[in-house]
């Protein structure tokens, strides 16, 4: 069923009896051409582009819980393409371009709002770094604008630019950045994939791989064995757990990242503002809640909940830059498990096992990457060659010293 304004009016006049479920609930078949493990944003996007762009007919997505119950429903919904390095920027710009056409493409309202993102500057060194970053963005076809203190004052009059500790000396703005209704991304991709014949199988946990003579023949699941020509893994924070079933060790650690939302307020904050010096960033959802976060807790965790020192740290950062928000009450806080890679950049690659493919290491930047991650992983699965924007995301880059280390932190995952 195609959604449209006409359809909404028609259903309103006929008692809303014509709506059908947005996707089927099929039983797994015994064999698929391609099986995707992980029904999150990346897995569903991969299935969608496999079916739509690469014309694959027999594709399944296996999800151990319900679709969209992991990080795609736990992030702070920001999209942007303000990266520096050659390995990253073309990929993230490709992703932002896909976001811009996504709602029309999959016929679903994902509430994509290009309200802009602003990175604040407080020192000369930061200004130099952001000018360089902005130039790298422009060279790769993205938009970037350096704002002066006066321009920031005019656009964001509530910011105190003369603070003694962190005076605001300017900012790097990307006006095409913004926010998205994150759950709708999972649902839109699921509905789109289902409409192109993909089986989305929920409550189906993969318990092992069937590997014979160096070739992956399929997966053992809680719903029995499912044969597959190719298996693609896109399970984010659970990557090390899943791939250990194929006796693989990954260059990543799983860390918990917390996020927060306040009670609903009237519009107070246009766009996204990041206060990197204070480890804090914030946007306001369409419902009015202030959505904000900060740093990782910093230790390996699979608990999907963090601890109080980081809550305190994030709130201190918030109070330093937006003292007025201290009056707002915290509504919810939660944690998600980040697949923190050793250089802070992702992996979209084949494994050493024939027919087994991997997508992960998204650190805490996976949401904005969702469309391009799905597109590039689908490209790899369908054609066995990397997508032109994702050629650097190889497994062997750590061994060969070809790191894509945006922050220059080295192999210390909790610092990326």
């Amino acid at each position: 069923m195609r959604y449209s304004g006409f359809k909404v009016i028609k259903e309103a006049l006929t008692g809303h009896k014509g709506w059908t479920p947005a996707w089927r609930d099929p039983a797994p078949q015994s064999h698929y051409d391609i099986v995707i493990i992980g029904g999150g944003g990346h897995g569903l996007a991969t299935a969608y582009y496999l079916a739509k762009q690469y014309r694959q007919k027999r594709v399944a997505v296996l999800e151990k819980g319900w679709i969209g119950g992991g990080n795609v429903g736990r992030n702070t919904t920001i999209i942007r393409s303000n990266y520096l390095l050659d390995g990253n920027e073309p990929f993230y710009e490709f992703s932002l371009k896909l976001w811009e056409g996504l709602e029309q493409d999959f016929n679903y309202n994902a509430m994509i709002s290009q309200r802009g993102i602003l990175n604040l500057i407080h020192s000369d060194a930061q200004r130099d770094a952001f000018i360089r970053r902005g130039n790298a963005m422009i060279l790769n076809g993205a938009d970037a604008e350096m704002l002066t203190t006066e321009q920031i004052k005019a656009r964001y009059p509530f910011l105190n630019t003369d603070d003694a500790r962190f005076p605001i000396k300017g900012g790097l703005a990307q006006h095409r950045g913004g926010t998205v209704r994150h759950d709708a991304v999972a649902w839109g991709y699921a509905r789109g994939a289902d409409g192109h014949g993909v089986d989305i199988i929920q409550n189906c946990e993969v318990t092992g791989f069937r590997i014979e003579n160096g070739k992956c023949l399929g997966v053992e699941t809680t719903k029995g064995f499912i044969g597959a020509g190719k298996v693609g893994c896109a399970v984010a924070g659970s990557s090390s757990r899943l791939m250990s079933k194929a006796d693989m060790r990954l260059p990543m650690e799983s860390h918990v990242l917390q996020a927060f939302v306040s009670e609903g307020l009237k519009p107070v904050l246009p766009g996204v503002i990041t206060f990197g010096a204070g480890h804090f960033y914030c946007s306001q959802s369409d419902k009015g809640g202030l959505v904000f976060g900060g740093d990782l807790d910093g230790y390996n965790s699979y608990a999907q909940r963090g601890n109080l020192p980081v809550v305190e740290d994030v709130c201190e950062g918030g109070m330093a830059i937006f003292p007025a928000f201290g009056r707002a009450r915290l509504l919810r806080m939660w944690g998600g498990i980040m697949d923190m890679s050793m250089d802070g950049s992702p992996i979209i690659d084949r494994t050493h096992i024939d027919g087994l493919y991997f997508n992960g290491g998204w650190c805490y930047g996976g949401f904005k990457a969702t469309p391009a991650s799905g597109f590039c992983f689908a490209h790899l699965l369908a054609t066995d060659t990397p997508h032109p924007t994702a050629t650097a995301y190889r497994f062997d880059r750590f061994e060969k010293g070809l790191m894509i280390d945006e922050k220059g932190m080295g192999n210390q995952p909790n610092l990326h």
Binding site: E253, S254, G298, Y299, N300, Y302, P309, Q412
Partner: protein
């Protein structure tokens, strides 16, 4: 999280810096034939289990000792805390 420091007693984990997998104590032999591969695995392929995990914590805002903390990554429960120095010596290191 509260880390029960062997010398100082219970301390807030916020006083510590986290360094990850305690296998970083076992530095490979740089003169071995396989040194390049060994150091790649040492540097990049660390343990990332869901469950009990031996890991290094540095008491940066305290006595600056390194600890090996046995912690459950699913529950954040800590079952054992040792001085990294003692662990290294028990594995034959001089210090």
């Amino acid at each position: 999280m509260i880390i029960d420091h062997p010398l100082l007693g219970p301390r807030d984990s916020a006083e510590f810096t986290y360094m990850g997998d305690a296998r970083l104590i076992d530095r490979p032999d740089p003169d071995a034939e396989t040194a390049a591969q060994d150091f790649y695995e040492y540097g990049y392929l660390r343990g990332n289990p869901a469950g009990w995990h031996d890991e290094l914590w540095f008491h940066e805002a305290g006595d600056r000792s390194w600890l090996v903390v046995t912690r459950n990554t699913l529950t954040h429960e800590i079952s054992k805390v040792q001085l990294a120095r003692d662990v290294a010596r028990s594995r034959g290191r001089s210090k």
